[in-house]
Amino acid sequence: MTAPAWTIPSVRAALEAKKVSSRELTSEFFACIERRNPELNAFLALSPDRAFAQADRIDAIIARGEQLPPLAGVPVAVKDVISTCGVRTTCGSRILENYVPPYDATAVGRLESAGAIVLGKTNCDEFAMGSSNENSAYGPVRNPVALDRVPGGSSGGSAAAVAAGLAVAALGTDTGGSIRQPGAFCGIPAMMGTYGRVSRYGLIAFASSLDRIGPFATTVRDVASILAVIAGRDSSDSTSVPVPVPDYAADLDRPVRGLRIGIPREYFGEGMDLIVRQKVEAGIRLLESLGCVPVELRMPHTDFAIATYYIVATAEASSNLARFDGVRYGLRVPGATLLDMYKKTRGRGFGSEVKRRIMLGTYALSSGYYDAYYLKAQKVRTLIARDFAEAFQQVDVIITPTSPSPAFRLGDKTDDPLQMYLADIYTVTGSLAGVPGISVPCGKTPDGLPVGLQVFGPHFGESLVLQLAYAFEQARGSSV
C-alpha cells in the first residue's frame, strides 16, 4: 500500500501555486482507480463526465484569479446508498442494478457547491446492512492494508478508497457502526455527527431513526473540513436540526488539557482481542500525558445494545424497504398477479442478509409480537440513551475501542449472522443514543492491522470530539 499523498490543504496549495490543474489532478485519481480498483473492488461506478465538468469549473475560477471554495478540486467518493443525479446508485443490491437517480442527495450537492469533485460511487453491504462489505451483490471489497481481510462495513468501499489513496475523502453512512468500524479496519479517521446534524435527504433509507451520513479522510483536519460543509439544517429533511455549524477545522487546536475522558468499564470486558485492549489502553495513557483526566464510568445497559439495535433497525428497515416492489423503479420480475410480481421481484432482487433483516423486522412489528419486541427495544433504547446522558454529566467525552478485533479474514463470519452482528458491539450504543462519534487510528497489531480508538461526545459536541481526536492524532504522529 502506498501512503495517501493528498489532503484537502495540499490539494488547495497545489492548485493555488498552479503546480497542477484540477483537471490534471482529477485524471491522476482516475488513473489510480483504474490501476487499483480491479483488486480492491472499492468503486462500483465512476462519474468522469461530472468530475471533469466540475474540474473545469475550478480551473476557470483559478484562471480568473478568484477566491477558491473550501473544497476546490478535492476528489471525493460517495457511498452507493447516497443518491447522485445521473450516476448509477445501486445500494450494493441487484434490485437497483440499473437505477439512476433523478436528483442529488443534499450532502452531495453541498460537497460539489464547495468545489469537491465526485469521482464515483463506492461499494458497500447491500442497503448498508453488514459489518464486512461481504453482503454486496457486486462482490466484497478488499482491505488495502491486508488484501485477505475485510475492509469493514457497511461503508467498506469508502474506507478502502480513501485508505488506498483513490480519493482524498469519502462519504459513508453509519447506522450501527458502518462509518466508524471500516475507518478502524482500514486505519483512517471516520466520523458520524449527532443524529440530524447532516441531512439525510437523498440517502436511501435503511433505519431512519439511526441513519447518518459522515466523512472518511486521512487526517482529522480533513474529516472536520468535510463535516463542516455537509452539516446543517436542510428543509428537505425534517429531522435535520437548525443548530448552527461551527468552523470545526478552525477549532481543532484548542487545548485538551483538563478534559475529563470517561472510560466505561463495560467496553473493556470479555470478547475483546488482547492486542486491541493493549493499543487502546496505551492510547488512553497518551491522552493522559496530554493532560486529559481519565474517569472510570459505568454504562450498565451497554450489554443490551446489540439486541436492541437489531430489533429497532430491522423493524425500520422492513418498513423502509417495502418501497422496492418493482412498480416505480429498479428491478421488476414479472408475475401473474400484482402480489406475485411483488414477491418475485423482492425474493430475487434482495440478497440473503437483507431478506433476513426484513423477516426479523416484519416479525418484530407483527400483530401479537409488537409489544414483546419492538416496544421493548424502544424502551431499552431509552435506557441506553440515559447511560450516555448520565455519563456526560461526569465527563466531557467517552473513550472506547471502535471494534473488539482488527479486520478479520474474508469469509470468517459469513456463516453466522449473530457473530457478525456482535462485531458492532462498541459502536451501536452511540447510534442508539444519537451522539456524535469518531474512530481514529490507534496503532497497529504485530501483523500490521490497524486498531481504532473511538471518541463519543454529547449531542452537538462534534467540536470537542474532533479536538480530542486531533490532539491524539498529533501526539501519536506517525508512530505505530
Binding site: 433523478p102 440530524g196 425534517s238 421488476r332 414477491k343 425474493g347 423477516m359 426479523l360 424502551k379
Partner: protein, 101 residues
C-alpha cells in the same frame, strides 16, 4: 424453538418475499437463534420507562423544524421519474391487472 416454520411462512407472506425451500429452512434456524439472543432484553424491568421513538422528540431545537410555510413549488418530475420506471405507460406505471370484471 422460538419461531416455527409456519410463522416464518406467514412473515414472508407479510413481507411480500418469495422464499425458496432452502431459504425457509435457513431463516427458520437463524431467526430462532437471533430471537433467543434478543430474549436477554427481558432481564430488564422497563415498566416505568418511556419508549424512545426519536432522538430529539420534544426538545427545543426541533420546535421550528416540523412545519414549513405551505407555499406551492414547481415539481416537474413526472417525466424524469417515468424515464426510470420498469414499465411506464405515460403518465402511468403499468402493473399486472388487479381487478377482475
Amino acid at each position: 424453538m422460538k419461531i416455527t416454520r409456519e410463522q416464518v411462512l406467514r412473515v414472508a407472506e407479510l413481507a411480500h418475499l418469495e422464499l425458496s425451500e432452502a431459504e425457509l429452512e435457513t431463516y427458520s434456524r437463524q431467526l430462532d437463534s437471533i430471537l433467543a439472543y434478543i430474549e436477554k432484553l427481558n432481564q430488564l424491568d422497563t415498566s416505568q420507562v418511556e419508549p424512545m421513538a426519536q432522538v430529539f422528540s420534544g426538545e427545543a431545537h426541533t420546535e421550528n423544524a416540523s412545519a414549513r410555510e405551505d407555499v406551492p413549488r414547481p415539481s416537474d418530475v413526472v417525466s424524469a421519474v417515468l424515464d426510470i420506471a420498469p414499465d411506464p405507460s405515460r403518465p402511468y406505471f403499468r402493473v399486472p391487472k388487479v381487478i377482475d370484471r
